[in-house]
Amino acid sequence: MNAEPALLRLRGITKRFGDLVANGDISLDLRAGEVLALLGENGAGKSTLVSILFGHYIADSGVIEVDGRALPPGQPKAALAAGIGMVHQHFTLADNLSVLDNVMLGTEPLWQAFSRRRAARARLAESATRFGLKVDPDARVGDLSVGERQRVEILKALTRGARILILDEPTAVLTPQESQSLFGTLKRLVVQGMAIVFISHKLDEVLAVSDRVAVLRNGRLVAALPVAGADRAMLAEAMVGRAVPRVAREPTAVGVTRPAAPVCALRGAGLRGAGRRPTLADIDLEVHSGEIVAIAGVAGNGQRALADVLSGLIALDSGTLVIGGAALPARPRAWVEAGVARIPEDRQSTGAIGDMTIWENALLERYASRRFATWGWLRTERAREHARRIVERFDVRGGGALGLDAAARSLSGGNLQKLILGRALSGARYRDVAPTLIVAHQPTWGLDVGAVADLHRRLLEACAAGAGVLLISEDLDEILALADRIAVMSQGRLTAALARSQWTLAELGLAMAGQGLPGMAKSSKPGAETRHVA
């Protein structure tokens, strides 16, 4: 055990937002040269705690000490001066500016008459070499890949002389191989005396990279212990707090035997896009009724464009797209009427209109149908009844005293997602018919374990009722739990959608990194991971 005095001490940190206790009396120590993992589900309070540490929030009570000196609360400037650096989950980078500009920001006094760019450039190059993070200082950040952008975020902290580095869910946007590379970087940092706080909800990562782990649940610290010799099951249960049945699916053979015409078929699909490389190139994909096809891949490889195409928002530039035997125009309403249920990636800004009421949001896709409108006049009573049934059937909680008339933005993430799912799965006719195709883009992002299980369950129900499901997700665990067939998206191209049993974890990782496109034979490289999935 490290005998050095603690570099960072948190004592009794408490933070409330209204009635919600985001952090309850949390105390932790961190030593130099140590990786401390903050483990917990979404909503457990991990991000709040580090936001307090970094000065974005002020704790209601509690103290933070760095090197024995108290840290003034609520000032990122003080945190930075004390040597705390943070790599945020959503990168704080300006796309229109260069890497050097982003790194230099805030490092010089504002009243200085000129920027010492050459010195900054040298410092950046030195940090880059020392920690093994290569970037081009003059590249425009908007042009960089996600992994490169994360490197810039890390360099921002390092060039300011951070001694304590906080990483908030850093692997959420990386391929398995890139994650390994990140872990290597972290190990190099630790050897040089850095203390690292690593936030994650993925147990395996935490066990692989950290020295100690602190488990948060519902805002409280429920366990803090060294990783060596820690019991996996105990950590998992501490994280979740109760036995939640993880939904898992026996893969069906539907896609392989292809009994009927597919509900969705893409052939040679392509989309040009703004850059030199096409956004989508030569995509072949089929989804059959009753099967779940998942598209894995790291963010930024064309998933958003593919989801937009499959939601009816954009038209293809080349190739064909057939839904239920017909080519649909690029008008979302035609897709809704053709029985395609779409769950968008961003529920707050694309899925719902926060300022409108719950019942109005429930009506959003169907308002023009004959059931809810007569000659342009809205049948409000019928719309409210429809909304009430969705809320009941899909267990949408919230709204308080106003009920259906509450603004949608008052709903929690999980309940909003249930509303959106309910709306997508409910038809306009009196007898709700299951949709033919469900297009779900990151449906469980940011939801807690209970909400995730609930959503998975409903997807499976719809699938059993005959819908074909296309799941686009960056969460490999989710894909491995649900999918019948998996295809991997990389740089606008799609591998073949092979049955789950035909993929190994290493092959998935390689494909996500762009190596292992269709046609590549499965090689038996020495030392390659041969753990088969499912």
Binding site: H56, P76, L80, D95, N102, G106, W111
Partner: protein, 313 residues
């Protein structure tokens, strides 16, 4: 017709007029540019120019020196900028609505103050404006201008230097692109934004003062006549870069001076007899055309018009 036009273009007086007409546009556009680079749309420019024109003129009328008058105009602009900044940054109100409200407030206050100060006059009282620089500046065209024009021209490279080569400029640009990044590096987003808006509004005030203290010598109602809005268009045309803003303002000045000359020459547009109003329309039409031309390529500061709330990530 062609020879007449060539004579016109080769003569110095024409270019003197171009530069004189362009000056308030240079100042106003730089002011809007500074605000928008920090992420705040400032539609108060039309009113602030009126208020600046009045404040500068009043100060001189009451006995101050000309540069004191310019300072008064700048201060007036900065105060309205502070109000706009408070409404849009601290209270996160709609930037469109706040700006239009400020235009209305500034214009009506200036008109009111003028009428209260001079209830009975018929023709506006005059002041002694800036004289040209021919006494000490040997350069042609430029020496026929007032020192305010020189100030405007010097401000272009100064502002460019500030924005691109100083830490303060980088900070200002960053709050216009990604305010979270600025906050994460220990900077205060509200302070930077409000500061930029105040500075930009001060420039707008000086643009107004140019009208009463250099171009003309008295305060008229309807003096600004839409030039503030032209500046807002010019900023888009200039892709938020000071150098291009200068080009845009000069281009606009060129067309405005041209239509004035054509009107005076009375030779009509290619021989067709055209009412003078159509000449007067040209500048506004040009501004719209300029907007259309650059529309597709416009690279807006990414956080423009998006309110920022601390802690919302």
């Amino acid at each position: 017709m062609l020879t007449e036009t060539l004579d016109l273009l080769l003569g110095l007086p024409f270019w003197v007029a171009v530069l004189r007409i362009a000056t308030p546009l240079i100042l106003g556009t730089l002011g809007v540019l500074l605000c928008e680079r920090a992420g705040v749309l400032n539609l108060g420019i039309e009113g602030i120019m009126v208020a600046g024109a009045f404040a500068g003129w009043l100060a001189v009328y009451q006995g101050s020196g000309l540069w004191t008058g310019v300072a008064a105009a700048a201060l007036t602009g900065a105060l309205f900028g502070l109000l706009h900044g408070w409404l849009t940054v601290t209270l996160a109100l709609s930037q469109h609505v706040s700006g239009l409200g400020i235009t209305l407030l500034a214009t009506s206050l200036a008109s009111y103050a003028y009428r209260v100060s001079f209830p009975k006059v018929e023709s506006p009282p005059t002041v002694q404006p800036f004289s040209d620089m021919s006494a000490w500046l040997p350069l042609p065209v430029l020496n026929q201008q007032t020192p305010l024009t020189l100030l405007a021209l010097l401000l272009v490279p100064t502002l460019a230097y500030m924005l691109y080569r100083t830490p303060l400029g980088l900070a200002v640009r960053m709050v216009g692109e990604n305010p979270d990044a600025a906050e994460g590096q220990g900077l205060s987003v509200p302070a930077l934004r409000i500061g930029a808006v105040m500075a930009g509004s001060a420039l707008m005030g000086v643009a107004g003062a140019f009208l009463t203290l250099a171009a003309f010598n008295a305060f008229y109602f309807n003096m600004v006549n839409g030039r503030g809005w032209v500046c807002v268009a010019l900023v888009v045309f200039a892709s938020w870069r000071p150098g291009k803003a200068l080009v845009g303002a000069l281009l606009f000045g060129f067309f405005d001076a041209l239509q004035l000359r054509l009107q005076q020459a009375g030779s009509g547009l290619f021989g067709v007899d055209v009412s003078y109003q159509f000449y007067l329309m040209l500048p506004y039409v040009m501004a719209i055309v300029a907007l259309v031309v650059v529309a597709r390529r416009a690279a807006y500061p990414q956080a423009l018009m998006k309110p920022w709330r601390k802690g919302e990530r």
